[in-house]
């Protein structure tokens, strides 16, 4: 007897159809899974056997062959469990064969026959409609997420027994629960940051214009605090953006089952991150630049990052997406994020401190600063120094106030972006003639000036706007 079940398989952040064929034949009892299945899929055999028995189904003591088609592509993970069990049940006459073949199933099986959520439920639900499944069966933990896709009906089942009862019309699926927001979404308030008016201003301009930002300052000056508050002053993501963000985080297994995301992501990879960790690669999982999509990628201690890793960030920042090619295949992942980078003025952090002396030898200082030059630096539009913080400075404006200004500026930039006025152009030309900045730097200054004008509600960028924009070109390195 051959039966077929349907499931979905996640590559990158999209899901593809996998047909699970089960063949039950007489012969020496055995259970093999073929179709380039990895270790986790091989282990499905144990979970399926125990799950079926616990759910009081008969596990056929026969020669069982399960094939995952398309058979030539590598598959990994535990999401095939339910479909394998259903195919075996259908092949052994314990579940309705025609319904099993038309309904996609994506869940991991527990030894007690219960269903567990899998990563990427949202992407799978979207794909379920595309590949022609009638419905999608998921564990309760995946339900709210899968329902967001709005493609095919989502059937929530608690256990393998429950699934079969639903398919045989003996029972109803569970209602789809409302997902509470993930706790990690709480963004700290800008009012917590004391002093640093200029760095705050730079953060606001960056948020308004979507500019990448580099902050240079000694340890403890509040660079990280500021960066962590950036997602709060960005406008909240629209419904489509929320879906995009959730799809990515769910596919990466970073979304706690049963919760939803509301804010923009903030990703702060450690400086030891490899190129693959930053842009994605290993097993085609999304990298940090994709996880920060529609949000903020914070690179603290920028010069400490591996040079190759930073180089790899260049294309994603330019194109807003990243193409990852590995043995397992190639995927295109979205990567539209703002980059905020932070660095110390020198390895010891004391350069420029009026009270204490920097002890870095010149060679080391030069090496440190030259590590951040190059292609990535060119993509950091705004560069600002954040000097040692004054602990007694007054608290700044609250996130809500700044966010209001940013939202208005973003609307202006989208509807009617300010042009660069004649005075502003003249000032910029003089700055270029005076060798204060390069041609590329002039382009950056133009963009930043337009953003500053939009923040003020001006129709054209004036010389004053341009002058302020010029001040963000960074110290002479």
């Amino acid at each position: 007897m051959v039966a077929r079940a349907l499931t979905l398989w996640l590559t990158g952040i999209t899901a593809r159809r996998v047909d699970v064929e089960a063949h039950v034949a007489d012969g020496v009892p055995s259970f093999v899974v073929v179709g380039l299945a990895d270790r986790a899929v091989q282990e499905a055999r144990q979970r399926v056997r125990s799950g079926m028995t616990s759910a009081e189904f008969r596990f056929p003591i026969k020669r069982l062959t399960v094939n995952l088609a398309p058979a030539q592509e590598r598959k990994e993970g535990s999401g095939f469990d339910l479909a394998i069990a259903l195919a075996l049940l259908a092949a052994s006459g314990q579940a309705p064969r025609d319904r099993v073949a038309r309904v996609a199933a994506a869940a991991e099986l527990g030894l007690d026959g219960g269903l567990r959520p899998v990563r990427g439920a949202l992407a799978m639900a979207e794909a379920a409609g595309r590949v022609g499944a009638d419905a999608l069966i998921v564990a309760p933990g995946s339900a709210a997420e899968a329902a967001l896709a709005g493609t095919v009906p989502v059937m929530v089942a608690r256990s393998l027994r429950h699934v079969v009862d639903i398919l045989a019309d003996r029972d109803e699926p569970d209602p789809i629960p409302d997902a509470p927001p993930a706790i990690a979404a709480a963004v700290p308030d800008l009012a917590d940051v004391r002093g640093q008016p200029r760095a705050r201003r730079a953060l606001e301009i960056a948020a308004a214009g979507g500019h990448n930002l580099l902050m240079t300052g000694p340890p403890g000056s509040g660079k990280t605090m500021l960066a962590r508050r950036l997602t709060g002053i960005l406008p909240p993501p629209g419904p489509d953006e929320v879906l995009e963000i959730m799809r990515i985080h769910s596919a990466a297994g970073l979304l706690a089952p049963g919760t939803r995301l509301e804010g923009r992501p903030f990703r702060a990879p450690h400086h030891s991150a490899s190129a693959a960790a930053l842009v994605g690669g290993a097993r085609l999982r999304p990298g940090e630049v994709t996880l920060a999509h529609r949000g903020v990628l914070f690179l603290d201690e920028l010069p400490e990052f591996n040079r190759a890793a930073l180089e790899a960030l260049r294309m994603p920042l330019e194109d807003g997406e990243v193409l990852v090619s590995r043995v397992a295949g190639s995927v295109r992942l979205p990567a539209r994020c703002m980059v905020v980078a932070a660095m110390n003025p020198c390895p010891c952090g004391l350069a420029g401190d009026p009270d204490r002396e920097c002890t870095c030898p010149p060679q080391r200082l030069h090496a440190y600063r030259s590590r951040v030059s190059g292609p990535l630096l060119d993509r950091l539009d705004l560069r600002v120094e954040a000097p040692r913080a004054d602990a007694h400075a007054a608290p700044g404006e609250a996130t809500s106030v700044v966010a209001g200004r940013v939202a208005r500026a973003r609307r202006r930039l989208a509807d009617d972006p300010p042009a660069v006025g004649d005075d502003a152009g003249t000032l910029l030309d003089r700055a270029v003639e005076g060798m204060l900045l390069s041609g590329r730097g002039a382009d950056r200054a133009r963009r930043v000036a337009a953003t500053i004008a939009a923040l003020e509600g001006a129709e054209t960028a004036s010389a004053d706007h341009m002058a302020e924009a010029l001040s963000f070109r960074g110290a002479a390195a």
Binding site: R198, A351, G352, P354, E385, P387, A393, S471
Partner: protein, 371 residues
């Protein structure tokens, strides 16, 4: 010919890596050394290899040596040559020959207004770098050649300032003229060769060595009528240059640093023992006997003047200039305009600093200066 003798000894020195200056003096001159018998050479305590090379050098093809040098753009002038820089003759141990490379045709006389040496720390503060660059630019802009050692820090800033104004500058090297040292200054060296001059007493191919730098300092001191020391710690190499300058009777001036600052211990010490004090371009102009820098009309904007007043105390970050309650945007715009107009500049730490002399306005401190 006598020039030939000196050159032959230089060739022998180049082949053995031995500096022939001291030996030549002990032997009583190039001709005597070249003509010396084997016993005499032994009495002079010469290494065998050098004695051997010396014998070969008696027959060496001087013209070929010069042609080889010319190919790399280097010329060689020996003490016997009338073109030998008179400034170097004033040394008690003038180099047997100097190697020149670059575009500058003439080595100026060590008279006021001819050349100025600007030297200092290899690990300077931002303030030191800035003043070195300003002084270099000012002097070279008035046609006074800026002499320095192309070392990291102050030396490079002085050369850089001179090159900024396309003025004359002379780099005195502690290695051959075909070696750019330190390597980081390859670009700077090329620019110096394009419009200035590199001088070395070592033949091409000589690598840099620790003992050659103090030796080349005496050439720096000799070539300029005035020596400006910008930032030197106690026991700095720049103080060796100052000692040489003192021996030669050159003017020595120093840029003062804060009391107790270790970065300026050497320069403050020089001032204590009688060196002139140079704080800005107009001070230097007096020593060089050239016209004081022209006064720029102050900015018409009162706010801009207040910003300059604030910066006349010490370099400051924009937040410090704005003070509590100031608008960061407005302050940044003011600073940028002043920067484009040439009043202020930014240092490596991102602080704004005065780029030309500014006399604080007499008005009481405004909000922008209060802090």
């Amino acid at each position: 010919m006598s020039g030939g003798a000196a050159l032959r000894i230089v060739i022998a020195g180049a082949r053995t890596g031995i500096e022939p200056g001291g030996i030549t003096r002990r032997a009583g001159g190039p001709e005597k050394l070249l003509a010396a018998s084997a016993e005499r050479l032994e009495r002079l305590g010469l290494p065998d290899s050098f004695a051997q090379e010396l014998r070969r050098a008696r027959r060496a093809d001087v013209a070929a040596f010069r042609a080889e040098l010319a190919e790399s753009g280097t010329t060689c002038i020996t003490v016997a040559d009338p073109a030998y820089p008179p400034a170097l003759r004033e040394l008690h141990d003038p180099p047997l020959a100097v190697f020149l490379r670059g575009a500058l045709a003439e080595i100026p006389l060590p008279a006021p207004g001819g050349a100025v040496a600007i030297v200092g720390a290899r690990r300077p503060t931002d303030a030191g770098l800035r003043i070195a660059r300003r002084l270099g630019a000012f002097a070279a802009g008035r046609g006074v050649a800026v002499v320095s050692g192309m070392a990291l820090g102050i030396d490079a800033a002085a050369h850089g300032g001179a090159l900024d104004t396309a003025g004359p500058t002379i780099a005195v090297l502690g290695c051959g003229t075909d070696v750019a040292y330190p390597r980081r200054h390859r670009g700077l060296y090329e620019r110096i060769l394009e419009s200035g001059l590199a001088i070395s007493e070592y033949p091409p191919g000589t690598p840099p060595a620790p003992w050659r730098f103090p030796a080349r300092n005496r050439l720096i001191a000799a070539l300029a009528a005035t020596l400006v020391v910008v930032e030197a710690r106690a026991r700095s190499g720049a103080l060796i240059t100052a000692d040489h300058a003192l021996d030669l009777g050159r003017d020595i001036v120093a840029v003062p640093g804060a009391a107790g600052s270790s970065a300026a211990a050497g320069t403050n010490g020089l001032i204590k023992s009688g060196a002139g004090l140079v704080e800005d371009e107009s001070d230097l102009a007096v020593w060089l006997g050239i016209d004081a820098p022209e006064r720029h009309p102050p900015p018409a904007d009162g706010e801009a003047c207040a910003v300059l007043d604030r910066l006349s105390g010490a370099p400051a970050f924009p937040d410090e200039v704005a003070g509590a309650g100031g608008s960061p945007g407005r302050t940044a715009a003011l600073l940028s305009r002043l920067e484009v107009d040439g009043w202020v500049a930014r240092d490596a730490s991102g602080r704004y600093t005065l780029a030309r002399a500014w006399t604080p306005t007499a008005s009481p401190p405004s909000t922008a200066t209060a802090r």
